[in-house]
Amino acid sequence: MKLSEIAKVLNAKVVCGQDRLDEEQDKVFASDLMSDILTLGDNFPMIVTGLCTMQTIRTAEMGNLDIIVFVRKKKPTEEMIELAEEECMVLMECDYSMFKACGLLWEAGLKPIY
C-alpha cells in the first residue's frame, strides 16, 4: 500500500518525508519497546509506536527502519524531525490508540512480519 494511502487510513499528518508518499509498504511492526524494534533482523517494516523520544529516531536509524507512525497524539520535537530528515525518514502523527491504528492497518491489508 502506498504511504499516502496509509496516512489516509490513519487520518495521520505527515510531518517529514512528504516526497516519499508514493512508495509502497506492506509490513508493520508495533511496539513501544526499543529493544523489541532492534530484534527485527533483515526485516524493514513500518514502525507504529507511542514512544516519542529521540531514542525512537535513533533506534530506527540503527535498525534501518525509515517509516514511523506515532500514535496516541504523540508529536515529535523539532530536534527529532531534524534527525529524521537527515536520515530521509517518513514520520507521521496519528491521534488514534495503538490498538485502533493497528486494527485499521490490518483491515487495510497490511501484514505483520511474524
Binding site: 529493544s35 532492534l38 530484534t39 540503527m62
Partner: protein, 137 residues
Amino acid sequence: MHLEYTVVEGDFVNAGSASSSIKKTLKQLSVNPSIVKRVVVALYEAEVNAIAHAYGGVVTADIDAGKILIRVIDKGPGIPDIDWAMQEGHSTASPEVRNMGFGAGMGLPNIKKNVDRLNVQSTVGVGTTVEMEVNLS
C-alpha cells in the same frame, strides 16, 4: 582504523551518536548492510547500557579488513552477576530508562545474538568492559 567516543551518564539525547558515527564509517567502507546492521544494533544496545546503567565511559572501535572490534568500557558500578544479566527479561533499569523504551532485559541477549564474539568483564565498584567482535566478510 581506530575510533574513540566518550559516553556521558544519563545523556539520553546523545545516546546512539557513537553508534551512528560508526554506522556511517562502515557504510563508507562498503561493508555488507546486513553486517553493518548487526554491528550497530549490538553497539547501540551497549552504548545505551553505558548511559543508562553506568557512570558513563568510552567506546572504541578498531576496524581492519576482516573484522571490527568494539569495546564499551564504563566506569562502574559493575555487574554483580553477569550470567543473570545475560538472561532475557533480567534488568535493573530505573523507571526513567524504561520510559525511554529500554530496560526490558533484552540488551545483553540482543548483543550476543548480533556479534561473532562477546566478552563481558565486570568488577563491582570498578566498571564493566563489553568487548564485541564481528567478522566483516
